[in-house]
């Protein structure tokens, strides 16, 4: 008589971004291989992951969008993941978008993701989870490029078209790209540290998995010459908030993120970087 049940092998890998190891479990070896390629350079070996997600793979289109979706950018926050809904109830976070449904219990450090076998859904889940963790720690994900040079990290914030990809592409050999799209900023002692991320923009090139103290935030603008101009504190805070990636419909976290932005601008110089698209702009960034 044949066995009615079979042992399903559980496969896993650890994705470590911002020194936060997240274990992802799956039963599909092809999906695992795809993740290994996607997060190459960000794979951890730690056996002690800070949280763990079980991925259940379903057919594309099987995950339906939630009935209520945010259909526009929330004022004040950049939102590259249109249609994402992140809510908190009874200690659990619920993350939904048309292509995935996920749950995360921070106390248990466990969660689940229901998606098809694609790298984009889990990428969005990771961004959201990291943004939630960082919000409680005074950090954030920022819609900005970032690079490391001379042991310091520089952030370049701006909406699409402001020049994040361009300035990343112009980076000289002695600069290390952390990301061309989404920067990872963690509060550390009296300052902030930026980490490389695998979250890419038009450049489609993963950042390096390294980190450095944040030396400056530049608000990007394109113009007829390369120059750096001071920015008033209020404008700095507004611009920072406009570029913070934040998804949660949660008053406490919104307030925490708001105050984190002000802490950041009180500790990190914020300037406007106007540049023409040529490599000489990097002479100003040291």
């Amino acid at each position: 008589m044949p066995e009615l049940t079979a042992e399903v092998e559980r496969l896993s890998l650890v994705i470590e971004i911002g020194r936060m190891p997240v274990r992802v479990n799956t039963t599909d070896p092809d999906f695992l291989a795809m993740l290994e390629r996607r997060y190459s350079g960000f794979l951890g070996s730690s056996e002690k992951a800070e949280m763990e997600f079980d991925v259940e793979l379903v057919q594309p289109g099987f995950v339906q969008p939630s009935f209520v979706q945010r259909d526009s950018v929330q004022p004040g926050f950049a939102d590259p993941d249109a249609g994402v809904r992140v809510t908190h109830q009874r200690g659990r976070w619920s993350l939904t978008r048309g292509d995935f449904r996920a749950e995360w219990n921070p106390a248990a450090r466990r969660g689940s993701i229901r998606q098809s076998a694609n790298p984009y859904s889990i990428d969005a889940v990771l961004r959201i989870v990291h943004s939630l963790v960082l919000a409680r720690q005074g950090g954030f994900l920022l819609h900005s490029a970032s690079a490391l040079r001379n042991g310091k990290a520089f952030l370049f914030a701006g909406v699409s078209g402001a020049g994040k990809t361009t300035i990343s592409r112009l980076a000289p050999p002695d600069a290390t790209l952390l990301t061309d799209e989404i920067s990872y900023v963690r509060k550390h002692d009296d300052g902030y540290v930026a980490f490389g991320t695998p979250f890419t923009g038009e450049l489609a090139k993963l950042g390096e998995n390294v980190s450095a103290p944040v030396a400056a935030l530049y608000l990007l603008a394109q113009g007829p010459e390369n120059r750096i101009d001071p920015v008033a504190p209020g404008e700095a805070a507004r611009s920072l908030l406009a570029n913070v990636l934040f998804f949660a419909e949660d008053e406490e976290l919104v307030q925490a993120e708001f105050h984190s932005a002000f802490e950041f601008v009180s500790r990190v110089p914020v300037s406007r970087l106007t540049f023409v698209p040529d490599a000489r702009v990097w002479e100003l960034i040291r």
Binding site: P233, L241, V254, H259
Partner: protein, 105 residues
């Protein structure tokens, strides 16, 4: 004519930076930057001081304006801020326990 009392909504986050008061709604993340009148009003909105007293003691000296006109403008500002749920307004004093929880840092 009844007096109006105003209190800061505890469900918003607020910061004053370089003279600019910025407020974010915890409900929907909307960011507001208050003008000078609204900033004075916000800072004085303790729930127990009537609006006309705030106008008399804080707004008139700052803007050199007639009290009646200033009160009219202040009421409009207060109602607009209340429509965004930044301020609470009432014809009765608003208990400090609920009024001051969201005071700006």
């Amino acid at each position: 004519m009844s007096r109006l009392f105003v209190a800061r909504n505890p469900r918003v986050a607020a910061r004053c930076l370089d003279g600019e008061m910025m407020i974010m709604s915890g409900r929907d993340s909307t960011l507001f930057t208050l003008n000078r009148t609204a900033t004075i009003l916000w800072q004085a909105a303790d729930g127990t001081t009537p609006l006309d007293e705030i106008v008399q003691s804080k707004i008139c000296p700052a803007f050199d304006v007639e009290p009646a006109e200033a009160l009219h403008d202040a009421e409009n500002v207060a109602r607009e801020l209340a429509s965004h749920e930044i301020l609470q307004i009432s014809e009765e004093p608003i208990p400090p326990a609920t009024a001051l929880a969201g005071e700006s840092r």
